[in-house]
């Protein structure tokens, strides 16, 4: 079935390619040329909004917390597939509750035959986790196929969490250092603020949605970091170029021109990344579902917004371009931007 669809799409691409090569397609402009949106003026709205959202995210983090996955919390996770075709979760729950392993979480996962079983970390160190696994395996018996097993002792889980956090910090700092070398320090600082903002909001999202926070979440966070910065750097590059070329242009106007001239690229790129992520979200299977969902939120929603509405305008406050000769640094929007 899927193969037929894929072959069909392949043929469509071939036809489109030929048509495109012959120059017969109409030009598609997602973003019109010469936009002049006054993005920097929005900083009076976007900064308070971002600050408020960040506070909400941090509050959520402390009140709701993150749903720590087995990687960071320790314990046992089993993914089982009922041989009969439909899993009887209620019966399974009764059997497993009787084992005395504390709280046993059961959750349908993917199809009706798949069940995810989570057992919290058992007191008594690494050997106790293994004993719990034996009990679970015994109790489940032959009615199910065990598809996946994960058992983590308390120390390894603690180490993984520490490692993940250190990695996140390390990434932020090393990117900061790189930007400091390539740009002025204000840019590095601006990117860093934007960066932390992205991570804070994404953590807020993970807290609300209560997706498992595990190693893949750290991977998602680091990817978000990379892409959001990728975007920020593209705009910063343009700002730097404009700063060299137009010595007398007021900062807000210069920032606006920079954002506007890269706007088409920002939107097209984010659209293609969204397409790729959408495919992963819809067809990639449940194993990477939360991974792609977090990435979708971070890359598409937060990343784009941040680089346009936070990373660029914040340069005004950080004093970029102040020491240019005769540069009047006022917040009055230039007339041109009213268009």
């Amino acid at each position: 079935m899927t193969h037929t669809v894929l072959i069909g799409l392949g043929i469509l691409i071939a036809i489109l390619t030929v048509v495109a090569a012959l120059g017969l397609l109409p030009s598609l402009r997602i973003v019109p040329d010469n936009t002049h949106f006054d993005f920097t003026r929005f900083r009076r709205i976007s900064f308070p909004i971002s600050a408020a959202l960040s506070i909400v995210a941090i509050t959520l983090f402390f009140t709701h917390g993150l749903n720590l996955g087995i990687d960071f919390k320790g314990g046992t996770l089993l993914e089982v597939k009922a041989k009969s075709g439909t899993a009887d979760i209620a019966a399974m729950r009764t059997t497993l509750d009787a084992l005395g392993l504390g709280e046993v979480q059961l959750q349908q996962f993917g199809g009706p035959e798949n069940v995810l079983i989570r057992v919290a970390e058992q007191p008594g160190g690494d050997a106790a986790q293994q004993a719990a696994l034996q009990k679970l395996r015994g109790a489940l018996g032959d009615s199910v196929d065990i598809q996946r097993t994960e058992v983590l002792g308390p120390r390894v889980a603690g180490e993984l969490l520490a490692y993940g956090m250190v990695g996140l910090m390390l990434a932020i700092v090393s990117i900061l250092i790189y930007l400091w070398f390539r740009f002025e320090w204000q840019f590095a600082l601006g990117a860093m603020i934007a960066n932390v903002h992205d991570i804070v909001l994404t953590i807020g999202f993970m807290s609300i949605s209560q997706v498992d926070f595990d190693l893949t979440s750290i991977a998602a966070l680091l990817t978000i970091l990379g892409y959001s910065l990728n975007d920020t750097v593209v705009i910063y590059d343009r700002i730097r170029e404009m700063l060299r070329r137009y010595k007398k242009m007021p900062m807000p106007q210069l920032l606006n021109e920079s954002i506007n001239s890269t706007l088409s690229r920002s939107i097209i790129t984010h659209f293609t990344v969204t397409l790729a992520l959408l495919a992963l979200l819809l067809f990639g299977g449940h194993a990477i579902h939360s991974f792609t969902a977090v990435m979708m939120f971070g890359v598409v929603l937060v990343g784009t917004y941040t680089s346009i509405f936070i990373a660029a305008p914040i340069l005004i406050y950080l004093g970029v371009g102040e020491h240019r000769e005769d540069a009047p640094d006022t917040a009055t929007p230039a007339k041109k931007n009213k268009a």
Binding site: T2, L6, G10, I13, A20, L25, L28, I30, K81, D126, Q130, I146, R148, T149, E150, V151, L152, G153, R155, V156, G167, L170, A171, S174, L179, L215, T216, I218, A219, L222, T223, G226, Y227, L229, D231, V233, V234, D237, R238, S261, T262, S264, R265, I268, T269, T272, V273, A276, L277, L278, A279, L280, L282, F283, G284, G285, A287, I288, T292, M295
Partner: protein, 534 residues
């Protein structure tokens, strides 16, 4: 920007082609690739999450290693002081990571220190030149001498323990007849075991969970076990339980007649008379001599076969056993006899191992993940390709050619590095397709801008490339840093993601700087365009 010498163009195309060709072995069955020359055999390795298998992280018990060493020090101290006829009171105590002994006479302290310092050996190996020793002997005051293990000596001991353990683990895993297991040291005290295709690691864990310290010792018949349990235990004996249920106590002498290290072979077989499963074994020359001597001296007395401080059986010696061969019977099933034979052949672990992390994926789930990952990859790529065609038309075709070569190069590089492809790794490739076109978008948008700025076609294309490439480099390096950090901190599937992401960035920058430019340059030379259809 648009001029390439013939040699440069050729170099670029050859590089791309060779890297792409590295992916070829993946399209042939493994058996066929095995017959190719070694340099052509490099291919992608599927991660355990895709092909199924078991991942175990084992930890060597550092406390056990330390305790063993301290016990050994205690015995050494006792012997040394006795040999030197130096009196001490209260015995040798082991506490707080050190052994302590109180010398009775004040005047004996200095000679005792001198004697005990002889026990301390310089550390061997790489640290041999550092002048560090494996034991620190100090006067703790008040007649107490303190012997402690320096940090470096402990690390050295752990390192040796791990090295020995890895060898034993390797032998035990190989006995299971699995395909291409990976056994690696991780950190200071851990061993990573990856066994592709293993669905249920229960038996593997049982095999690895035993130290398999085998000893032949005499049973102490001077005290009946029930009296010994009430505390009347002779100092040279200890109380051990039987291995098979129900637990039966035995009083066994501490002195070891022959140890498992003297075994040369062990096989599971059947007893000729009773037909029950037994393990037959062979001693090496020195083992055979010791065993023959002990059995000759003790005819009519029971001896105990002890495995990991549990008595497997305690037969009575009917006649001297001089052939260096014997068999162990002890309520075995075929499986447990087999396992014991494996353990005896592989040798004893220097310290017990604990499973601290276990991840197992069944082959069904792995196959399912491959199929879903492939589907997502196809759909994602198709969506992006169609979108590029609609947005940039002819230049979209150029971009799509570049992206296709880009993905082929990713697979080529992954194969060349024998990298592991995981499900998040597939996600990384799909994501790379999404951003690989970003480099094209940056270039094309810049060309559009330059055109709007009033440049003519060729000069706009030239300026577009020149200005966009600097940006491409800057923006990709930041993502690459994130991928590098991820590679460093991640394990398993996550590391797979970092690898594809990182390689994707390298190929993306390469194609943007060379291939895309080359394609456009050819088009410009061929067409001499007055306007750019972009």
């Amino acid at each position: 920007m648009l001029y390439f010498t013939r040699w440069r163009a050729l170099g670029i195309i050859l590089t791309a082609l060779i890297v792409c060709l590295c992916a070829v072995p993946n399209f042939f069955p493994e058996a066929q690739v095995k017959t190719w020359p070694a340099w052509a055999q490099r291919r992608l390795v599927l991660g355990l999450d895709l092909q199924g298998g078991s991942y175990l992280l084992l930890e060597v018990d550092a406390n056990y290693v330390k305790k063993e060493r301290l016990d050994q020090i205690r015995d050494d101290v006792r012997r040394t002081l006795r040999d030197a006829k130096i009196g001490f009171t209260g015995g040798v105590t082991v506490r707080n990571d050190a052994a302590e002994v109180r010398i009775t006479k004040e005047s004996d302290v200095q000679p005792a220190l001198a004697k005990l310092r002889e026990l301390s050996q310089p550390l061997g190996g790489l640290m041999g030149s550092s002048g560090q020793r494996d034991l620190e002997v100090a006067d703790a005051g008040g007649g107490v001498i303190r012997l402690s293990i320096p940090q470096a000596a402990m690390l050295d001991r752990m390192r040796k323990t791990i090295e020995q353990s890895i060898q034993i683990v390797e032998r035990r895993v190989n006995e299971l007849g699995t395909v291409e297991p990976v056994i690696q040291r991780q950190g200071n005290d851990r061993i990573l075991v990856q066994v592709p295709g293993l669905q249920d690691p229960t038996r593997l864990k049982e095999l690895l969970g035993k130290t398999a310290k085998m000893e032949f010792r005499m049973v102490d018949t001077s005290v009946p076990p029930d009296q010994a349990q009430q505390g009347r235990l002779p100092p040279e004996s200890e109380l051990l339980m039987s291995a098979s249920p129900p637990p039966v106590p035995y009083v066994v002498k501490k002195q070891v007649l022959v140890a498992g290290g003297d075994l040369t072979d062990a096989q599971a077989s059947f007893d000729q008379r009773t037909g029950e499963p037994v393990v037959s074994f062979k001693f090496n020359t020195s083992g055979a001599r010791k065993f023959s001597q002990a059995t000759t001296e003790n005819v009519g007395l029971p001896f105990a076969i002890v495995l990991d401080n549990k008595v497997i059986s305690a037969p009575v010696i009917r006649e001297p056993i001089t052939g260096g061969q014997g068999q162990i019977s002890g309520n075995f099933t075929v499986q447990s006899a087999n396992d014991l034979a494996i353990l005896l052949r592989a040798g004893a672990l220097p310290a017990p191992l604990t499973v601290v992390e276990e991840r197992t994926v069944g082959p069904g789930l792995g196959q399912d993940s491959i199929e879903k990952g492939e589907l997502a990859a196809y759909v994602g790529s198709i969506l992006v390709v169609v979108f590029m065609l609609l947005t940039y038309r002819l230049f979209g075709v150029f971009a799509n050619i570049a992206v296709t070569i880009n993905v082929a190069m990713i697979f080529g590089l992954l194969s060349l590095l024998n990298a592991t492809l995981t499900l998040p790794g597939i996600a990384g490739i799909v994501l790379t397709v999404g951003i690989a076109v970003d480099s094209n978008v940056l270039i094309y948008e810049r060309i559009r801008e330059e055109l709007r700025g009033g440049r003519n076609a060729i000069s706009a294309i030239d300026a577009g490339f020149k200005r966009a490439l600097a940006t491409i480099l800057d923006s990709n390096i930041t993502t690459f840093i994130a991928a590098a950090v991820l590679f460093y901190i991640g394990t398993g599937p996550v590391r797979g993601f970092a690898v594809t992401l990182g390689i994707g960035i390298i190929t993306t920058v390469f194609t943007a700087f060379t291939l895309t430019r080359l394609i456009v340059a050819w088009w410009v030379r061929w067409k001499r365009p007055q306007s750019v259809p972009i």
